[in-house]
Amino acid sequence: MVPSHSRTRGRRLMRASRTPALAAACALALTGCQGAAMSGDDAPDKGGPVRIGVIVPLTGPTSQVGTALRNGLELAVKEVNSHQGVHGRPVEYVVVDDAGDPANSTQLARRLVRQDKVTMLFGTITGDTAEAVGRVADEAHVPFGTAILGDTEHCFAYQWGFGESTRQMLTPTVPGLIEKYGTDVALVGSDYNYPHFYAGVARELVKKAGGTVVAEEYSPLGQTDWQPVIGRLKSAKPDTVLSMVVGADAVTFSKQAQQFGLLTPKLGFEGAPLDADFQPALGPLVAGRTHTVRWSDRLDDPESRGFVKDYRAAHDWKAPVPEVAGNAYFGVEFFLAAAAKAGSNDPEAVNRAIGRLSFDSPLGKGTRFHAANHVLQADMQQVTIGGDGAYNVTRNHPMVADTTPKKGCS
């Protein structure tokens, strides 16, 4: 296994591969073609180990989630290696820290492809860093997997997401909320691309379920005072609030919504603030509410239980195991199963195999990517948040489909 300390690894590899790297730089300068697919020199060794390039924020505001993703991936690699690797080929990984900055992500993804000669890329937390790596993956024709929830309007031919898509989150949720709380739905989000995309899908599903969107509010990231927004939301008298207010703002918004009397037990509430990341901060405010996720550490499945046990032992972990760690664990297993099916380390062959693979895991029986949108067709779980912070699975939604086509997949 390659050590996960990026600096040591980076320096060692840089020294070893200076000549090909220089040659590659010269070739690029001469041709001016930065986005070319990998040349023969850049391509991974076909019979050698399967190498994964892992790009995650290990520092900065999203470092907690980044670390959880890396931890999940590490355990998956350990598990695969303990079973003879990929058809006898061991699996290695190189971890680099992008600090959540897309400029770093682009540079590091290129370095992993050209210098470390990885067969596949995995990681990133925020949408902008995922898009940055997605572009590099498309340029270099190397498959790239993400584990974080949510998707965007654009799709990349070499990018595959193991987190739930927006439609998969909302399809099983919206009709239930409308039935339980009432037809009037308000949408609120942080003001950047993803919450607007989320709201677009939510509007469509609310209408389909017979509801009405009565208010829609966005606020720039870093908002400390939500009173005006909460005032407008309150005056629309919603039965349910769907919130894509993210990061620390999710905590500030939810707390202030409760203090101003918007967030009461009579109001339906679903969205990012119910994610396990915020449970320690919001505690009683989210207890008893239901949330729809792809994977929960309380999933009663032997593989899931084994992973959770290993995760807790390896990291002395007492809190709920983050969803992103589970998605990464089973996502990497999916990628490596595709590498086994491809029979070589050629990234293009692995990418083709990923597109065709049907794989059984706790994420669902026969999970597979839809060709038109690269969304993993898999189960969703309805969880009920306990007072102790446990995300207990209370209902399984088998194979929640999302087949809406997107541009850029093929």
Binding site: P61, S63, T224, D225, Q227, K255, Q259, G261, P280
Partner: protein, 291 residues
Amino acid sequence: MDVLLAIIGQFGLYGLLTVGIAVIFAATRVVNLAQGDLAMAGAYVAATATGAPFGIRTLLALAAGVPLLLVIERLLLRRPGSDGLAAMLVTWGLGMALRQGAELLFTGTSRTVAVPVDGTLDVLGTPYPAYRLVCALTAIAVITLVLLAAHRTDWGLRLRAVADNPPMAALLGTDPRRMRATAFTVGGLLAILAGALYSPVLAVNPSMGFGLLVPVFFGLLLSRPGSLVTAAVAALLISALSVLLRTWLSDTLAEALFYAVVVATAALRSRPWTGRFSAWFRRTPAPVGAV
């Protein structure tokens, strides 16, 4: 009434921070870029020392703040104090160190502080969260005390003398070093108080103070150096502008307009004719009978 309460609530937070930064600026001519991070430090004391009641935690944050601020001033700011830019960069570094320290100690995950006063109060027919009102009134009382101290005590007189003319104040017996240390401590304590007091309505995380710096910096920009009253008025105007714009417009548009208005005001203030115009209003009346 809703809007008025929102303005007062916002003013409590911005006012404490702005008056604090103005006290430091008056004595040292240094913009303390760590002001928001000191507030974050105060909030973390409130979030972590959960064994004690909230009031005790706030006092604890202030008590721990005094030696910390004195040591920071003594070790980091005394030497570059003569060079404003160097000292400002030192405060920038201090802020970064505080943020990184908090991330190492408490991780980047947000924490919350339970609201010490539950329920809502009816303010002239408008229900309002009781704790927000307590926060705002406490902050206003503290700001008033600081303004009174600046205008009614010897310390305030010396502070204003140092702000107006440091060499002359030194010649007249004011120890500038001591004044700088006191001012940095008082200004820093106001930030720590703001952080601890407002922690139950905010998400406590290492970067929370950084976001507060912009409105506070604008408040300092619009105030007159050495005049803490103008700093408090600037904080009130900024709070009012922010709340009013966000009440009438969408948050995103309101924020863009807010910056445009503040920058335009600061630019107008720097024009020479604006200075002459305001000086004309502030002129000393000629003695009766003078020719």
